[in-house]
């Protein structure tokens, strides 16, 4: 499980790769929060899921946790490029109503 961030204009991009489950999530949770804290004041964060080969419901909890943190800074959250498996998990949990897919 890996996580990388980059800043472009007013957007923070967070790229997730690998397999996101209950075992691997701890590794990326802190790094995601540090990236968010370091970039507070931008208008939005885009989580790019293209590199995620697997995600179960742990991913839902992880994304909602980051959503709440971003909200504190007044930042919007978006998701892009989930694969079919992640898309199914995100769809049935209704997550796209909080963090739209772009």
């Amino acid at each position: 499980m890996n996580l990388q961030g980059s800043r472009r204009g007013d957007n923070l991009y967070i790229y997730l790769s690998g397999e996101l489950d209950e075992h691997s999530v701890a590794k990326v949770r802190e790094r995601a929060d540090k990236l968010i804290d370091d970039n507070a004041g931008l208008s939005r964060a885009v989580f790019n899921l293209a590199g995620l080969r697997f995600m179960d419901s742990t991913g839902i909890g992880f994304l909602i946790g980051r959503y709440k943190r971003l909200k504190k800074y007044g930042m919007d959250m978006y998701l892009e490029n989930p694969d079919a498996g992640a898309d199914k998990v995100l769809s049935i949990s209704g997550l796209y109503s909080l963090m739209p897919k772009i």
């Binding site: 489950d21 075992h23 697997f54 995600m55 419901s57 839902i60 909890g61 498996g85 199914k88």
Partner: protein, 145 residues
């Protein structure tokens, strides 16, 4: 017809092992990518529940994983001898979690029910939890579109 049985300690690194072992086991049934992903996700949910809830995140017990294929049907059983579930009906409610402070989504059982063809759970406090799931390959997606 084929069968397999795995027994492993409740360590979180076994989540990836368990789902990939089941994926490898069902490959001869020529599952579609969606079917394979459904099975892997459901197994990951069941095993994670056993580790996090059954054994409270401690490597204190064993998880048993049984699989059986017959024709295009896969049957899976995930069992722990951990704490058990006090109120199964409540545990099945979407978004319900007993660990809200830990970023748990409460969607594990909902995902198992949605992604698999058959699902049942039996549990009693102090006696552990047994989840049975089945998947029929080649089934038309009930919720397609």
């Amino acid at each position: 017809m084929n069968e397999m049985y795995l027994k492993f300690p409740s360590l979180s690194e076994n989540e990836v092992f368990a789902r990939n072992a089941v994926a490898a086991f069902v490959l001869p049934l020529n599952p579609t990518l969606t079917e394979l992903s459904d099975v892997k996700t459901a197994v990951s949910e069941a095993v994670t529940n056993a580790i996090v809830h059954g054994y409270g995140g401690a490597a204190e017990g064993w998880i048993e994983l049984k699989c059986r294929t017959d024709g295009d049907l896969l049957e899976i059983e995930v069992a722990d001898r951990g704490r058990g579930i006090e109120d199964v009906a409540r545990a099945l409610t979407p978004f319900f979690t007993t660990l809200p402070g830990e970023e748990r989504s409460g969607m594990g059982f909902t995902i198992m029910q949605t992604f698999m063809s058959g699902f049942s759970v039996s549990s009693a406090p102090g006696e552990g939890t047994r989840v049975k799931m089945s998947k029929r390959f080649g089934e038309l997606e009930a919720n397609a579109g």
